[in-house]
């Protein structure tokens, strides 16, 4: 079985000037969360930040190349003390935006054991804005990432193993045992 979005496949999302997702609905979670991490890098700030990436550092050079055609990166991470401090209704406005034309869900993974729900959406097509959205929800943590613009998933995945992200070796899957039952959507 082939993974629908095998890393080796070059996935390029053509994009124009995109619009970021509206995260306003999530702001109320800040009061409940133990830790909140928010990164808002719009086009100008992104270009400004990219200027400070070193070409001499291979990892930073890759990031520089990756973000060259991006129009924005937005990250919201909420960590909660206990479970059930946010509900699906908090995510509903985000999901609603991701159901609009142009967006398509390419990955949806739900793990029953960890109650972890990860969804990846791509925005593609014509003159419409492009980008990537990742929604990771588990009982104690909620992460929403929105990347606006032309994003090369292969390049982004190549950064796995760099910047502190462990590298996933997809070429040698046979020696690895699955550690739990996964329910793919």
């Amino acid at each position: 079985m082939k993974i629908p979005w095998v890393l080796a496949t070059f996935v390029l999302v053509s994009a124009g000037y995109g619009q970021a997702l509206d995260f306003k609905n999530l702001e109320k979670l800040s009061a409940k969360a133990k830790d909140v991490t928010e990164v808002t890098l719009d086009g100008s700030l992104l270009r400004f930040a990219a200027k400070f990436l070193s070409n001499d550092d291979p990892d930073q050079a890759k990031v520089k190349k990756l973000v060259a055609e991006l129009k924005g990166i937005y990250v919201k991470t909420y960590e909660f003390e206990g479970e059930g401090e946010y509900s699906e209704s908090d995510l509903a406005p985000i999901r609603s935006q991701l159901r609009s034309p142009g967006w398509s869900r390419i990955v949806g993974v739900h793990t029953k054991r960890e109650h972890d729900n990860t969804e990846i959406y791509l925005k593609t097509g014509g003159t419409e804005p492009g980008g990537l959205a990742i929604v990771c929800a588990n009982p104690r943590e909620l992460t929403v990432v929105n990347i606006v613009g032309k994003i090369d998933l292969e390049e982004l995945s190549e950064l796995g193993g760099n910047l502190g992200v462990p590298k996933l070796d997809l070429d040698k899957p046979k020696g690895v045992k699955p550690d739990g039952k996964k329910d793919d959507h």
Binding site: S157, G160, L168
Partner: protein
Amino acid sequence: MSNLEDDLKMALRREEPPADFADRMLARLSQSPEPSWRERLSVLVRPPRLQWVAVTVMVSVLLPFAGLQIRKQQQYNAEGERAKQQLLFAVRVAGSRLHQAQKRVLEGSRVGTRL
């Protein structure tokens, strides 16, 4: 000899200076007179001093300006560094979540293949 001639000879006759004349003259010469305020001011506008004044004025104008520029540059660099760290963090989060999803899809597909 006329009286006039005698008078002239008398007036122009050689006369020896007093014994302490030379000492008094040297003593007076060694005493430098106190310069007036005009003299003092004129010292400033003499060509060599004028150059120093110009240099001083320029330095006193340029130094704060240069300091301001350096401070602005430092602020710019600090903001840039902060933005860079945010960018690296955002890419790290996006990359790790992508990685997480890939791993689960991969594991799920293996389970599917084995079944």
